[in-house]
């Protein structure tokens, strides 16, 4: 594989094949009513496939090879930060129905403040408590949005 561009283009080509196969299964054209459920997805799949092939070819003919030598993932610390943010979000989505919005959001905010760019505990506690309580009050009480309640009832 010469470049990241080609990795992406292969992804588009495989996605296109998947979309087209499923669209054909859904039926593209009906002799009595014209285009049916699979028509637009099939069209989209074809366009994605064409783009993928064009990008693959252009990646192959790229004589500079510059793109191939580029670093895709950032240096170690930055990658860690990205993983922590995603992990924090996933944990929040998973635990929100169990622990409730308020507790989960305080824990998530504190985690982000403490782990991503470590700050003093007092700043972490004060910032996460004040921000989360404010958001909770705004959405739950002022806007009357029913936020998830955990086993503690909050």
């Amino acid at each position: 594989m010469r470049s990241y561009e080609q990795v992406y283009s292969l992804f588009w080509i495989f996605l296109s094949i998947g979309i087209c196969v499923e669209s054909i299964r859904l039926q593209i054209w009906d002799s009595s009513s014209g285009p049916v459920a699979g028509f637009i997805p099939f069209l989209a799949g074809i366009l994605i496939g064409i783009s993928g092939v064009l990008m693959f070819i252009s990646g192959w003919s790229d004589k500079t090879g510059k793109d191939g030598r580029e670093r895709f993932w950032p240096e170690g610390k930055a990658t860690k930060r990205i993983v922590f943010v995603l992990a924090g979000l996933c944990a929040m989505a998973y635990f929100m129905p169990i622990l409730g919005f308020l507790i989960t959001s305080i824990l998530m905010t504190a985690f982000m403040l403490r782990v991503i760019e470590p700050q003093k505990w007092i700043a972490v506690i004060l910032t996460s408590l004040s921000c989360c309580l404010l958001v909770y009050w705004l959405f739950n009480h002022f806007l009357e949005v029913s936020l998830p309640k955990g086993f503690l009832g909050i």
């Binding site: 637009i40 989209a44 799949g45 930055a78 979000l89 982000m112 806007l143 998830p148």
Partner: protein, 490 residues
């Protein structure tokens, strides 16, 4: 219009207009959060408001962010939002020469002038287009959306092939859920939560909010905040003389580009900058702190906002992702934007137009005397800001349908958006296609049903065939122009 001002000037609507302008300026000033993500986050806030107040507030956020975006571009060399990227070139150089106040001042004055000129344009042109829009049927809607996709492909900048991929991907994602004619489940993979499709707010929040934070995680710690003491906001006579024509040109051009599907404020600011450089007697000085390089683009990106409201209000067609969300907000309130809006809901139609005049005055007040406060905001470290943005993304996404599944959708699209942005894929065409997708499919299928599957129906409709011919012409022109450019560079 009298009705409009009587609506826009009620204490409640004045408050929501001010709130919108304030939040818009705030998110414009703060890098890392754009108007699209903010509108998505605040959409649930409008559920309790009446539709006029909601749209007045959300529009205020949109044009307020255009005002605020210039502050970070000028002071920190980081665009507050995409339309202010080009302001960095000369604005930051002016700040380095100790002329930050002048740059901020001309940005605010240009934005005010452009906002007002384009509000007049919106006021005059929109009712005319409503009359024309009554002639529109499914073939015309299909043709105008096809034109929008073609224009988007070439106007977003960067690779047209990547833009095509994004449009096709947006069309595909818009098809997820039940088929609107037969009720067939499409690409739901057995998830009941996907029956109604991928939620727009969750997708936008992921693609623009979460992916932006993930990208910023790469740069954290490297960002330098340069906040000098800002003084002398009022430009001198020479600055005003040099800026008058760029402001007028930027306003007119931005307004016209705002009208076009797919063009929008980012394109307007770049084209304005290029135009000013071409027309300038000293083009070589652009990029070294020339005031025209700030006045033109800042006017253009503001004018494009009111321009983009015209197709939304009169045709019911969003030209960019932000107006798509505004359309979503109207629909949530049971109001269908389009040619019938002016007769069925005149208070919304005229109220929103009048709020553009009011909002521009508010923004001038917020941006000129209060600039010091916005500058202070830049001192908030990003490490404190991003958990709060993430929290608002989660709660904003959840509140739309009260469903945790949407939060997972947001995370998924956040990661996907991050990976796409790393390889310079523009996300705006994706969102535009995602929003227009259902209407595009509906128009095409209705057209073919109307004509008993006969595609020749387009040739019997002069507006539709005209728009399709324009799309084809644009496609040929852009492909030819790019091919020619590549040959020259080879």
């Amino acid at each position: 219009m009298q009705l409009g001002f009587s609506v826009a000037l009620t204490p409640g609507n004045l408050f929501y207009c001010l709130a919108g302008c304030f939040v818009g300026t705030l998110i414009g000033v703060l890098p890392g959060i754009g108007p699209l993500a903010t509108l998505s986050m605040l959409l649930p806030v409008t559920y309790k408001l009446d539709p006029t107040a909601s749209i007045i507030m959300l529009s205020g956020i949109f044009y307020g962010s255009m005002y605020g975006g210039s502050t970070t571009s000028i002071l920190v060399n980081i665009p507050g939002e995409a339309a202010s990227v080009v302001t960095c070139l000369d604005g930051y150089q002016m700040a380095r020469q100790g002329r930050a106040g002048k740059a901020l001042g001309i940005a605010a004055i240009g934005s005010f002038a452009a906002g007002t000129i384009s509000a007049v344009g919106l006021n005059l042109l929109s009712p005319v287009l409503v009359v024309a829009a009554l002639q529109f049927g499914p073939p015309e809607y299909f043709a105008i959306m096809a034109l929008g996709f073609v224009a988007t492909m070439f106007m977003v900048g960067g690779s047209a092939v990547k833009a095509l991929t994004m449009i096709a991907l947006g069309l595909f994602v818009s098809c997820i859920g039940l088929d609107f004619v037969y009720g067939t489940q499409r690409f739901t993979f057995g998830f009941v939560n996907l029956t109604n499709g991928a939620d727009l707010v969750a997708v936008v929040m992921g693609m623009f909010g979460v992916s932006e934070i993930l990208l910023n995680m790469e740069e954290m710690g490297r960002r330098e905040i340069f906040t000098t003491r800002v003084k002398g906001l009022w430009p001198n006579r020479k600055d005003l003389r040099d800026s008058t024509l760029p402001i007028l040109r930027g306003s007119l051009m931005g307004f016209v580009l705002g009208l076009l599907p797919g063009a929008g404020n980012v394109t307007a600011s770049f084209i304005s900058y290029g135009m000013e450089r071409r027309l300038s007697p000293y083009p070589e000085k652009f990029g070294t702190g020339v005031i025209e390089g700030v006045a033109g683009p800042e006017s253009a990106n503001n004018a494009a906002v009111a321009g983009a409201m015209i197709p939304l209000l009169s045709l019911g067609l969003p030209c960019n992702p932000v107006t798509a969300l505004l359309m979503g907000a109207l629909i949530i309130h049971g109001v269908q934007p389009g040619p019938m809006l002016i007769s069925r809901h005149p208070e919304i139609y005229w109220g929103v137009i009048a709020s553009f005049y009011v909002g521009n005055v508010m923004l001038l007040i917020l941006n000129m005397p209060l600039i010091g406060i916005w500058v202070q905001l830049l001192r908030i470290p990003y490490r404190v800001l991003f958990p709060l943005i993430l929290l608002l993304c989660v709660v904003g996404t959840y509140s739309t349908n009260l469903n945790v599944f949407d939060v997972w959708v947001m995370i998924g699209f956040g990661l996907f958006g991050y990976l796409l942005r790393k390889r310079d894929y523009e996300l705006a065409p994706f969102i535009l296609a995602l929003v227009l997708g259902p209407l595009f499919e509906q128009s095409l299928r209705q057209t073919l049903i109307l004509s008993a599957k006969e595609p020749m129906i387009f040739f019997n409709r002069p507006i539709a065939i005209g728009l399709l011919a324009l799309s084809l012409g644009l496609l040929i022109y852009f492909v030819w122009a790019r091919w020619g450019k590549n040959r020259v560079s080879d």
